[in-house]
């Protein structure tokens, strides 16, 4: 059975905006899956439903067989969510922030103190930041540094599923490259499945084992990036998506 099963997900916000219109997809254990699409397509809404922050209007999400709507507490033990907007408690140092996130995750799973300490040290290594930098308050951090801290803390707790909403958005080339390698490495070494979104198609081609294209709240294409490119008769993923969306719109994009 797939690690994550999303089936017929619909979301109508109060006020009548229909953000999702029957989204269905699956993620296997250890798989890196990209959910891509234009702004407002429904990526973040999908992520927030899986992360138990929003409730679907209808449809079902199963994470390791756990219904995230009926048993949100159980589901949260299996996932981590890093939203698109980079945040952090600015009064804490980078290390304190890592410790807090790792402890809160692992304590809920009943982890031993030693296990927690090892995970904190692992997260510290994953950030690629020096001890000196990690000793500074987050208010002094750049967006990329904050993002590194959050993603590293999220991946260090070895979740069954990591949901990363545009993890490299707004980052410089070096920081973005660091995070991409980090995601690939953690997925390969720890067996965590990663569900992420991105507007960078090169990044998607590099990272994703499978891609779902979402447009106006519906999945309109899915498969390995190479297969999608071939089926669309395009030169690359970006061109393939433009063609697919244009076909859906009945004209050029």
């Amino acid at each position: 059975m797939p690690l994550l099963v999303v089936e017929g997900l619909r979301k109508v916000y109060p006020g009548g905006v229909e953000a999702l219109r029957g989204v269905s997809f699956e993620v296997e254990a250890g798989e890196v899956v990209a959910l891509v699409g234009p702004n407002g397509a429904g990526k973040t809404t999908t992520f927030r439903i899986i992360a138990t922050i929003l409730r679907p209007t209808s449809g079902c999400v199963l994470l390791e067989g756990v219904d995230v709507v009926r048993e949100p507490g159980e589901a949260r033990k299996r996932l981590v969510y890093v939203p698109e907007e980079v945040g952090g408690y600015k009064q804490l140092t980078g290390r304190e922030m890592i410790e807090l996130l790792v402890k809160l995750h692992l304590a809920a799973r009943g982890a031993e103190r030693r296990e927690i300490e090892e995970a904190v040290e692992e997260a510290v290594k994953l950030t690629g930041l020096s001890e000196k930098v990690l000793g500074k308050k987050l208010r002094e951090y750049s967006k990329g540094m904050k993002r590194r801290v959050q993603v590293a803390a999220a991946l260090a707790v070895a979740p069954r599923l990591a949901i990363l909403d545009e993890p490299t958005a707004g980052l410089d080339v070096i920081a973005a490259n660091h995070l991409r390698r980090l995601i690939r490495r953690v997925a390969a070494e720890r067996g965590s499945a990663v569900l992420f979104s991105s507007h960078n198609m090169l990044e998607v081609e590099y990272l994703a084992d499978r891609v779902y294209l979402i447009h106006r709240g519906e999945i309109i294409a899915s498969g390995h990036p190479r297969d999608i490119v071939e089926e669309a008769g395009a030169r690359n993923l970006e061109e393939a998506f433009l063609k697919l969306i244009a076909g859906r719109e009945g004209g050029g994009v």
Binding site: L54, L104, A108
Partner: protein, 404 residues
């Protein structure tokens, strides 16, 4: 509980590393300490305002030998335009018809003519809702008569107040009123910071883009709610300690160096426990209500403005103290009134204090329940947008209703 401990530790660190929070902790001490001079000025203004207008006064000779003195007192008071009559009967019975009874006791004239201290006994009928007048009037009697009789330094007045079915000396009543007002004022320095800190805790999660992360953590939402409420109350308690210390300094200054604890000697241990329970109940309510309301805001500043809404009933409670203590079961359920009733329990009795504390705790329970429910639903992240949309819809409807 590990989750609560970790979250509590995080919340405290976040609060105590904010400059404005530190300021809010220190400010009450500075403010109360600085208010000593202001209180002295206020006291002198109040003493000038002491008049006997509006009182119906009976002067009663305590013996046939004192009838002439009683007539003289009537004349002196009439000269000050007081509504006064010579009367006979027991003071208690006369207080049914008169608001103030002056008893001229046997030996008053003899003592006065021999240059000894002469004491009048004043009985006053007062209501809890007119406390200031109750404590002012006996002093007014002394002032008027001392000026008229001459040698007023030998004139003494023993004043007793009939209030809420009890009789007590005016000195005791004054001490209770002063102490009660002090306790009510001190509560404001707990309720406001607690409300403000609590609102900050949700507002900052939103502003620092951490609410989604927090809500996706594997923690029961009630733990999140509990840790936020407790941290606000702990920091609020620090502000309260600061205010009480400052208040002590202020009172010590106002009483010429005497211990401020004199003011609180008339409270029993049970009454002080009631007061602290009332403060705790009010702080819990302020904290829970601010947390709940701040879900409907999007930023720290928005959340801070919620403080005013959450604590407005406390201001109403303070205002009641300036005029008197309205003992009315309908008011028991008004938020923060339990502090007023507990502060004045030597006057009002225990029933209003216990009933209003119970009501406050029940209200807190309801607010906490609603807050945890909202936090457990998607309203935690959509409430502000929903409110905005509702307000926009109403505005739009109002605009559409405009003619032409």
């Amino acid at each position: 509980m590990t989750g609560v401990r970790l979250l509590l530790s995080k919340e405290l660190r976040l609060l105590l590393r904010e400059g404005t929070v530190i300021l809010a902790i220190i400010l009450p001490f500075v403010m109360y300490s600085a208010m000593g001079g202001m209180f002295a000025k206020l006291s002198s203004e109040v003493s000038r305002a002491y008049r006997l207008k509006g009182y119906s006064i009976a002067v009663v000779p305590g013996a046939p030998s004192e009838e002439q003195a009683a007539r003289m007192i009537v004349a002196l008071l009439r000269a000050q335009h007081a509504n006064v009559r010579l009367a006979k009967g027991s003071p208690k019975a006369l207080l049914e018809r008169y608001t103030l009874v002056i008893l001229v006791p046997r030996g008053f004239t003899r003592n006065l003519t021999r240059g000894l201290n002469a004491t009048l006994i004043v009985y006053l009928r007062a209501s809890l809702s007119k406390l200031a007048a109750a404590t002012a009037a006996p002093s007014g009697v002394v002032g008027v008569l001392a000026r008229g009789i001459g040698g007023g330094s030998r004139l003494r007045v023993e004043a007793y107040i009939y209030i809420n079915g009890r009789v007590m000396s005016v000195e005791k009543l004054s001490r209770i009123v002063s102490a009660g007002m002090g306790l009510v004022d001190a509560s404001i320095f707990v309720i406001f910071p607690v409300s403000s800190f609590a609102a900050l805790l949700i507002g900052s999660e939103k502003e620092e883009r951490m609410l989604d992360v927090l809500l996706s953590l594997p923690l029961p939402r009630r733990d999140i709610a509990l840790s936020k409420m407790l941290s606000a109350i702990i920091v609020g308690a620090m502000a309260a300690a600061s205010s009480i210390a400052g208040f002590y300094v202020m009172l010590a200054g106002a009483t010429g160096g005497r211990s401020a604890s004199l003011f609180y000697s008339m409270y029993t241990a049970e009454q002080m426990v009631e007061y602290f329970v009332a403060i705790l109940a009010s702080a819990l309510f302020a904290s829970a209500l601010s947390l709940l309301l701040s879900l409907f805001t999007e930023s720290v500043r928005g959340a801070q403005s919620i403080t005013l809404i959450a604590t407005l009933p406390a201001l109403a409670a303070v205002f009641t103290v300036f005029t008197g203590i309205p003992v009315n079961p309908a008011l028991y359920a008004v938020p923060y009134m339990c502090v007023v009733y507990a502060s004045f329990s030597p006057l009002t009795g225990q029933t209003p204090a216990i009933a209003s504390i119970t009501a406050q705790l029940v209200e807190t329970g309801i607010v906490v329940y609603v807050f945890v429910k909202l936090l457990s639903s998607e309203a935690a992240v959509t409430a502000s947008a929903t409110l905005r949309r509702l307000l926009r819809g109403r505005r739009r409807a109002a605009e559409e209703a405009l003619p032409g």
